[in-house]
Amino acid sequence: MEFPGEVIGIRYSISHDWNGDSAIFFRVLLSDSASRPEALADVTGRVAGKLFNNLQHGESSYTPYFYFRSKSEQDRLTDPEWQLLTTS
């Protein structure tokens, strides 16, 4: 677990962005405590940075995009795109 207590899971899909370029969309489900306004910028910066580097973006033709949602928000919305999360 890379971000214990902060990241509940990460799901991604490979598709095209709005400009038609190859893209990888990361959907990161955060704990409610990590989603607090005072913590959010720090957490999202670290998680996106880690994923960006792991992707070796300089050598990849895929543009990464990051979306963060809190657990309570997802529980309320039950958005299928955010279901079946893989544990990070």
Binding site: D17, W18, T44, A48, F66, E73
Partner: protein, 218 residues
Amino acid sequence: MAIADDLLTLAGHLSVPAATDPERAWLRRSISTAYYALFQRLVQSAAQRWTGTAASRLGLERTFKHDQMKEVSRAVSTGSWRGWSTPQLPVPLELREIAKSFIGLQEARHQADYSNEKSWTQTEVAAKLSDARTAFQNWKKIDGSPAADRTCAESAFISRKSRAALRADRHLCRLGVLAVQLARSVSLRTALRRSDRRPSARIVIGTQFTNDRKCFGR
């Protein structure tokens, strides 16, 4: 710069709708406004580097294209950006982070403006807004530094196509100057031959064109 800062403030307000406000509409407008705040910050900062009149700077601002800025931002974010400056300066870390934010915000803005399928939550919007704010802070750190002047303002966020067009315009200006000098020389010789020292109307137009070359930044 005021408009960029104002847009960022507005995006912040829109990200926290009251219970009586239509949340979906507010959140979507917040995303879109945050993107345009960063867009305006970069475009205005870059345009201010160019010499020339206020009107010419406004004209330059209109040459910035969203998709081309994304293309350049992608190269900057991966460190593969090679500017036109000689010698080349390393791309500051802050600029790479700004480029990442720009790309992410632009895609989010497209979804917010055009996609009715996408549901936005307050956390998603707050995260994007945080990216925009961080980008503003990073820009403040590098704004005015030699690296920013050389790699950002001069060319980094102007597309290759636009840059090539500007270069072509510059060549056109130089050709114009040569043409004017030639015309002036011929005209003056002709005028002297006619014992008339007043320049022709054609030379006046040419001289005006020569002055306009300032708008191309050199």
